[in-house]
Amino acid sequence: MDLRLRGSDPTPAERATVDLFLLSSGVSEQANGRAANTGHEARAHRHLLLPALHSLQDEIGWISEGALSYVCERLTVPPADAYGVASFYALFSLRPRPPLVAHVCDDIVCMKKGAEDIIATLQDKLGPESSEEGAATWLRSPCLGQCERAPALLWQRAGSDDRSHAPASSEAVGRLLADGLFDAPERGTAPQTETPRDPRLRLLRRIGLVDPTDLDDYRGHGGYSALRRAVRLGPEGIARELADSKLMGRGGAAFPIGAKWDAVAKAPVRPHYVICNADESEPGTFKDRILMEEDPFALIEAVTIAGYATGAERGYIYIRGEYPLATHRLEDAIAQARARGMLGGNVMGEDFVFDIELRRGAGAYICGEETALMNSIEGFRGEPRNKPPFPTQVGLFGKPTAINNVETLFNVLEVLAEGGPAFAGIGTKDSTGTKLFCLTGAIAKPGLYELEFGATLRELLDLAGGVTEGATIQAILLGGAAGTFIDTSDLDLPLTFEATRAASASLGSGVVHILDESSDISAVLLRIAAFMRDESCGQCVPCRVGTVRQEEALQRIVAGRKNASGQDDVALLADLVRVMSDASICGLGFTAGVAVKSALERGLLTPQGSNS
């Protein structure tokens, strides 16, 4: 490709960083002699763009023009394109940044847990947000997925690994800035895994018991028996068990996974791919994080089964960029699995080829959308594709692809452990198996919970010790920022796909956020509206402009201010919600107004200072 680079050179450190990354990725330098190849082969490295940008952000702390230009030269990517990609992701900085950056979550859970205090401390110590100079700076961040131990920070550290920090406090942040010492990461909170341990656990069965850093310990806890079973069954047998299990995808669309895998397995176009969507970013959600941090081998095994079942030789796990510990655990688990022949050219001695590549997101909620995620892996902006065609026909690199989220894949292990019909006996007729819930807000024991489908919201709250002492529930946000508000009249709602659908709600990612009387629902709604606007990829008009207009109208309503045009802002919001849900490209747009709509319908939106 006839690239034109602007001639800014990388620093030696930047060059070394990129060279090291490319060396590890097997990209060699083009010799400039009397013959050259800069054709198809050279252009086929584009999928390495995002990891290459990560290498710079990780090592150098920001991505300079010279560094980007060098990446472009080595990967044969046009610089404008690479700039478009780099500027898409919130975790990448294209301006100089201090080596230490605190990303402070001010999202719906943390905002009630003292996020603003921490921000005030940071502002006091480091000056205004996003300064280009000094030893450290800070930025506001959407949900960091540490909600059970809010408030949370993510420390991005140039030249060394990032660190999650939760629960954080003004004092701890101040101390850390002073002494530069980071605490060892803590275990995620799943109260049922603590003593006395809940005997009913399935998806969480190994959490807290298994050593997440040891393949052999995983095997000691039954690991890899599901893969062995899968190989005995063969791809068609797996499809049958999955069909019998009636297992539905846990990613929100509730699509039967058996049908999905079968479609990919039978697709005539080759190669096939499998992807694990671990880009868990729905505000209030942290379930996949805990699974990956505490039981990473289970995910490796499940993805391997997916590869075997669908005839794929390569799988990707796309994990959100804000999960350093889970990333580390998975990297380590993949390396161990490779070393032990559980990945590679002859998996488990069963004569099939499969390997997994771990890809990190870089701060873009939209990349949790499956087709945006594929674009992101391919080295493009994380913009969703129009569907159809569906990924089972035209997926990653245009090839048939099975994409599933972490929780779904964990369920596959259960299906293979007990057989499809037995699995179908768990839960309800149309929602089989168990479901993970992320319980936060005004609740005695926030954390990750696993319940059989069909249990009610009340049972879930009881399991968590009920609401915080002295608090009364004002509303419950079900499903996260793309979810709906319900109230105490819905406490006996069975937590199933069908019952929530009937109640015009959605389980979504399993977020159950309890808002008590002291919660400012308007502030929550404004945060959600701002989040949707921030996270819209900008591709389609309804979502790109609609989320802006939604936030503006909501601001006016909350402030009790009239629209200067004389329009009724509630009607305006209804129009906006409708066009976003009808005419957007992807799920983000479809659901960008759902929470606002449900709050309006339930009369939860009260103008400040209004007398009514």
Binding site: M1, L3, R4, R6, E65, L68, P78, P79, A80, D81, Y83, G84, S87, F88, A90, L94, S130, L139, S141, P142, G363, A364, R381, N386, P388, L526, A530, R533, D534, E535, S536, C537, G538, Q539, C540, V541, P542, R544, V545, G546, T547, V548, R549, E551, E552, L554, Q555, A559, R561, N563, A564, S565, Q567, L572, L576, V579, D582, A583, S584, F590
Partner: protein, 315 residues
Amino acid sequence: MSRAARFKLGVIKRTVELTIDGVAVEVPEGATILDACNKLGIVTPTLCYLSTLTPVNACRVCVVEVEKARVLAPACSRKVEPGMVVHTDSERVRHSRRMVFELLSSSVDMSLVSGEVKGWIDSYGSDAARYGPPAPPAKVGERDARHAGHHHAVDGSVAETVAQPVKIDNDLYVRDYSRCILCYKCVEACGEDAQNTFAIAVAGRGFDARIATEFDAPLTDSACVYCGNCIGVCPTGALMPKSEYDLRQQGRWDEARQTVTQTVCSFCGVGCNLDLTVQDNAIVRVDSPLEHSVTHGHLCIKGRFGFQHVQNLPD
């Protein structure tokens, strides 16, 4: 029978039948709903669609209602399926089209769109004013500097827009991104659909997404080769030859005094067809016919801008 004739492949023709607005229509397999609508003479508004470019279905103004589907479908890219039942003028469709026009009109300067688009904006009842008074224009470089993610809170007193100063950094064409609806056409024409220079891309995210060179470099410092194929596909006048821009600024651009003549470029042997727009015996703009097999509407710098030699006349 000749050997060549024996090896000639026949044409496989399969057709798909569907119903649009109650009328049955048969179109070739692989056709889009838009193709089928066109066959029935149903006018479908489009902004980001162009026959020579890969559909990005980003503007969503062509959406139609497909029965049994949860959401509306973009006619420009959704392939027809047997037995599909499509409604192009339902209340739901009209609402979305109106809202898309309204959202764009309230945030972008649409004053130079074609008469056809203006007609749609009116006929769908778009009311750009109902989002409140427009926010003041951004300062030079401000929109280009926005970082993805968190934005500073708005108060809703004004409606945000993409208004910003015009970018003029060369003598051949200008970029007025206050008029940019982000239809991606220029990016596609600069990229894989035609020129493959990739001088521009969409950068940033959400409402801050914008068409940009790397690090917002001036065109003269970018990969741009001034083919102007971005101008050729721009539906809103955001990209415009300098010759046209200057005349408009001077108030002298007058379509009533213009003729368009098709001829062939003289600068190499490829035979690119040119549409010369002439006003007062001077070429003021050059395009290429979209449907021509040689160019598919695309030109190089010489074809689009190299005409000056016939009008550099002594006074």
